[in-house]
Amino acid sequence: MAALTLCLLGSPLLHAQDPIHLEATNSADRIRLAVANFKPQTGDANTGAYKQTFDTTLFSDLTSAGLFDVVSKDMLPQSTPGFPAEINLTQWSAAPSSAAMVAFGNLSTQGNHLVVSGFLDDTKNTQFPQVFAKQYNEEASEDNARQIAHRFADEIIFRLGGGVSGIAETKIYYVKILGPNKEIYEMDYDGANQHAITHLGTVSLSPRVSPDNSRIAFSTLGRDGFQLKMFSLLLNRPVNFNSAGGTNLSPAWSPSGQQLAFSSSRTGDPEIWISDPEGNIAHKITAFRGPDVSPTWNPKTGAQIAWISGRSGLPQLYIMDADGSGITRLTDGGYATSPSWSPNGQFITFAWDRKYGPGAPGGQDIYIMEIASKKWIQLTHDGGRCDFPSWSPDGRHIVYANSPDGKADHTRIMSMLADGTQKKALTGSGADMPNWSWK
């Protein structure tokens, strides 16, 4: 929705010199959603702990979705309805909660299982209030309580989000800085459950997960310099990727998962190459003096690649067809790095220092550019050095690396809505190069 909002506002408002004004008309259209605390059906201590986790996760998922105007918990009615028969809808639709929708339900531990029933009611429709009801039954654990909350939140977002699925079950892969070494880590989209994927004891960079979430491609510093490596998340071990000479960096999966674009200097100059996921049938698609790095595919069509090229001096953002034809330059100056294409194919987000060079100290910030019009919006301001933006699969969020004081080892991972609001840190310092999974 944020993407649509941008597109709607983009055309009339984003003239080159005009200041950007975002009208608040759309926030008024957001559905006002009340999230009730779930009612524990069994009284033991475990249920209370699971309920606490569940309530917190559900509330934060729905708040960060960027779709709803979530009612603050202080404004909710005192009652805790557990079943549709127990809810008094006028209580919820009246001020101060003034909710249009209420999510509520109950939670119990039955033996070794955690059973959650969730309901979504439309308070304005007194005749047919129920939008949907769902029951979840999982083994009782703190992690599963969070998973169930994620699933219930995704279901609400799917029903009310106008056709875009939620992202509460997606993952973010990133680089963890461990002293001199860098390893690939994984975490949930909200920063929870951070854990290591690789244990190579060297420097691994730019993890990119495949569209089916089965493999991660990344580049690793080894005996032969930087080489691409492939790690299978299903087998939980590295799998083969045929390497060649030179420095091989920044892999990028095509949306079909059948091709991998990357930057390789095997012929002397860093160029964009495309190979299959085993590293075979590699062919070069750029041939111009100057470095060509950081490719990213158009995830909607799989027919275009955006990348950073230094053919005209400072690195600039370019797009081309996947066969190397139809090259178009998008940025007109400054120092652009690390593009990521939006899931609907309409925008590219990238890091850009618009006033790079001596005498013009500019900050590196995250920008969005609409490809058709080359109009851009700056999303981060004065927050320190920002780099490596990556779109979420719903196109409403962007995750990026931010260093508040510019020091490399103070870099942390932040996420925000694609209009630059709701910025929040997902990790502490020492995390870099995030990549949002495709689903």
């Binding site: 649509l4 259209d29 559905i31 429709n125 009310l160 106008g162």
Partner: protein, 262 residues
């Protein structure tokens, strides 16, 4: 005669008699073999047959076809015996009334007396004009035929959504609100030409199929301003999917864009 023979005896080498004897001996042996073979052939059985069966077909004549004999029907073992019980006797005939005689007189039955009902007082017609109920009117002055499901105010006029199947609209009101807000968001109000579109309205019809995709988009009533018509159509074409359709059938929608530049 040999050139090397020394005596007349030696000169006669008996060639003629020797040849003759040899031919005779061969002829005898040959004739013996042929004769033995012919004899054998004529008097011994051929290979694989015995003399008794040669050339004969064994057949025994019978006087009649040996079919199984007909078993006589067993009377005691039949489930439904042939001798059925007797049918019940028909009801006795009622004695018919004798036909009326020619001398009989017809007497009319008595009719019950009519009950009197008091006249119902009807209310007198009102002396003053009654107020007519408010009919929803668009900015263009046109009267709506059905109360709209959702009306949203835009910068330039209003956007009105009507669900033609009223029951669906009420049942899934939340979904209709989502649809309405998606379309209003996508409606590019800067696109219609302000002068040509002023105080005009366009109604577009479409169906939301079961997956939530808008289909069958068409203009019901063109506004007369091509830019307003295409802005209205584009607002729906921009949407890939409205989200899962909660109704198990497709929902027909009429969406009306009124243009009124303040």
């Amino acid at each position: 005669m040999s050139a090397y023979a020394s005596s007349p005896d030696e000169q006669n080498d008996h060639f003629g008699s020797g040849v003759g004897g040899s031919v005779l001996l061969h002829a005898v042996v040959f004739a013996g073999i042929i004769g033995w073979a012919i004899f054998n052939h004529l008097h011994n059985p051929s290979l694989g047959e015995t003399s008794s069966q040669v050339g004969s077909i064994q057949a025994s004549m019978v006087s009649a076809i040996p079919l199984p004999t007909k078993a006589p029907p067993v009377k005691d073992q039949v489930l439904t015996p042939d001798d059925v019980s007797k049918a019940a006797a028909p009801p006795p005939k009622e004695a018919a009334l004798p036909p009326p005689k020619e001398t009989d007189v017809l007497i009319k039955a008595k009719t019950p007396p009519a009950t009197k009902t008091a006249p119902v007082p009807t209310p007198a017609p009102p002396k003053h004009a009654q107020p007519t109920p408010d009919t929803p009117k668009a900015n263009s002055g046109e009267q709506a035929t059905q109360l709209p499901q959702s009306v949203s105010q835009t910068t330039n006029g209003t956007a009105t959504l009507t669900v033609q199947n009223r029951a669906l609209g009420l049942r899934y009101a939340y979904y209709i609100r989502i649809v309405s807000s998606r379309i209003t968001q996508n409606y590019n109000q800067e696109f219609p030409d302000p002068r040509a579109s002023q105080d005009k309205s366009v109604t577009v019809l479409f169906d939301i199929d079961r997956s939530g995709t808008p289909t069958n988009l068409r203009i019901e009533a063109a506004s007369g301003s091509p830019t307003l018509d295409s802005a209205g159509k584009r607002a729906i074409q921009e949407v890939d999917n409205f989200g899962p359709n909660p109704a198990a059938e497709s929902i027909p929608i009429a969406f009306k864009f009124d243009y009124h530049h303040p």
